[in-house]
């Protein structure tokens, strides 16, 4: 995987500064941007996936049991999922470390 940018010497760079690891941005965890995190009340969830559908950060995933959860490593805490959830099962709460 890519190193932190300040560790590259000029000799380490690929020809033309091409990035040949598709999607290696996953090494940059945007989760620490948030001050609030989504909390799911599964008793209200109808598994419609609206939260998943509207997440701009691909931070909602479906668990094996069919319910949804937030990937807190990437969730920026924007609150779209909670706002859009038609059954009101998601609430934004102060982040717990």
């Amino acid at each position: 995987m890519a190193k932190p940018m300040e560790e590259y010497t000029w000799r380490d760079l690929t020809v033309g500064n091409v990035v040949d690891e598709p999607g290696n941005s996953i090494s940059y965890k945007t989760g620490d941007w948030k001050s609030q995190q989504p909390v799911f009340d599964e008793s209200k969830c109808i598994r419609c996936a609206v939260c998943w559908n509207f997440c701009p950060d691909m931070a909602i995933y479906q668990k094996k049991d069919g319910y949804f959860s937030a990937d807190l490593e990437y969730c920026k805490g924007c609150g779209i999922c909670a706002q859009q959830c038609p059954s009101g099962c998601i609430s934004m709460q102060e982040e717990v470390s």
Partner: protein
């Protein structure tokens, strides 16, 4: 070998591009480059060249489309001049560090204003720091040869940099000269199909043109600079190979009748023709002068320039443009800078001549010599002289 053929030099360039079997041409018309791309579009229309010809709506888009086609792995060519090169400028600076081996012919023409269509080097000199390899040719045969060599140089895995072949607009582009074409089989042997290192294709997705934070930008510039300087050896090697194939060998710096000369002219591009003629005449009159031609301008052949020019007492640089607000023409400024580190330093004079296609006949070249000798006698000289200027 093939026979000599008379042809307009622009068409020789088109023929070279055809023989290089380019995949994509994206071009916009501008005098005096137009004949090149007109002929290429005819070759495509007639099925003699299997390529995509994109009639873009500007030079900016020409070079942008070239970046796109080169990035997907297509051998890519365009040509321009003057204002068109300036409009491309932004993209020139993007193409080189992205290491896209595009070949560009510049039919050198003066930058406006005042508007003028004739030749000088103000267009390319305004872009001399864009990180491309830059070659200046002196005649049609060389233009043809260098165009084919340019693809080979650009696409060499040790280089992977775009190349500009500079030809003087009108002076070369619109004249009919004899040339000896090289057979297609020989060209094919010399120039294999482009085998890119990275390409834009879904089978192996890559990201090109990512942005750099200050933490990394300096390293990207160093990598580009080293690649450009290291291309020197490959360029020499490829020119030597071309020489073995055709009998015409090119070197970054070339001397003409310099053996017993104290004083040499230094030129780039088509000036060398009239200067060689003048050198011959002056020698008949007992003045032993010579000529040094700079063929490779980027990377600047520093060691060659020092080892060549240190041998002479007086160096008379003829620039074809003025670096406004500096101390003369860009070539002389560069040579003075390089010679600062030489163990033997000649007197360096700078003459600005041929601006916007003004004719520079042999007697004016001889006049350059006499102006320099008079200044030497007086022991002081100007930063530069404008040849033929009405005071």
């Amino acid at each position: 070998m093939s026979n000599r053929i008379g042809m307009e030099v622009s068409l020789m360039v088109s023929e070279a591009v055809k023989q290089a079997k380019v995949d994509v041409i994206a071009a916009y018309p501008i005098t005096p480059q137009t004949h090149i791309v007109e002929h290429l579009s005819e070759l495509v229309a007639d099925g003699e060249l299997d390529a995509e010809y994109i009639c873009v709506e500007s030079e900016h888009s020409a070079m942008s489309a070239c970046c796109g086609s080169s990035a997907v792995g297509a051998r890519t060519y365009t040509a321009t001049a003057s204002q068109g090169l300036q409009l491309m400028s932004e993209v020139l600076y993007a193409a080189a560090p992205m290491r896209l081996p595009i070949v560009l012919t510049v039919a050198n023409r003066t930058l406006s204003a005042p508007l003028t269509i004739w030749n000088d080097h103000s267009d390319i000199m305004a872009n001399r720091d864009c990180g491309w390899i830059m070659v200046f040719v002196e005649d049609g045969q060389e233009d043809y040869d260098q165009t084919i060599c340019a693809f080979r140089i650009a696409e060499d895995r040790r280089v992977l940099l775009p190349v500009i072949v500079n030809m003087d607009g009108f002076i070369l582009s619109h004249v009919i000269e004899p040339y000896v074409p090289v057979g297609q089989e020989e060209v094919d042997g010399f120039l294999p199909p482009y085998d890119p290192l990275y390409t834009m294709h879904p089978d192996n997705p890559v990201t090109m043109g990512a942005f750099a934070m200050p933490e990394l930008f300096t390293e990207t510039k160093k990598a580009h600079e080293v690649a450009l300087h290291e291309s020197y050896n490959v360029i020499c090697e490829i020119w030597e190979e071309w020489g073995k194939l055709t009998g015409r060998t090119y070197t970054p710096v070339e001397e003409y009748r310099t053996d017993d000369a104290d004083t040499v002219f230094v030129t780039m591009g088509s000036f060398s023709g009239v200067v060689m003629e003048t050198v011959d005449e002056m020698r008949e009159n007992g003045i032993n002068v010579g000529l040094v031609k700079i063929r490779l301008f980027r990377p600047f052949p520093v060691d060659d320039v020092i080892s060549t020019l240190r041998k002479f007492k007086n160096v008379l640089v003829i620039d074809r443009t003025l670096s406004l607000g500096s101390i003369g023409g860009p070539l002389a400024v560069e040579i003075k800078s390089v010679m600062y580190n030489a163990d033997a330093k000649p007197n360096i004079f700078d003459f600005i001549a041929g601006l916007s296609g003004r004719d520079v006949p042999p007697d004016q070249i001889a006049g350059i010599y006499h102006t320099a000798m008079d200044a030497l006698k007086m022991g002081r000289w100007e930063n530069y002289y404008m040849v033929g200027l009405r005071e």
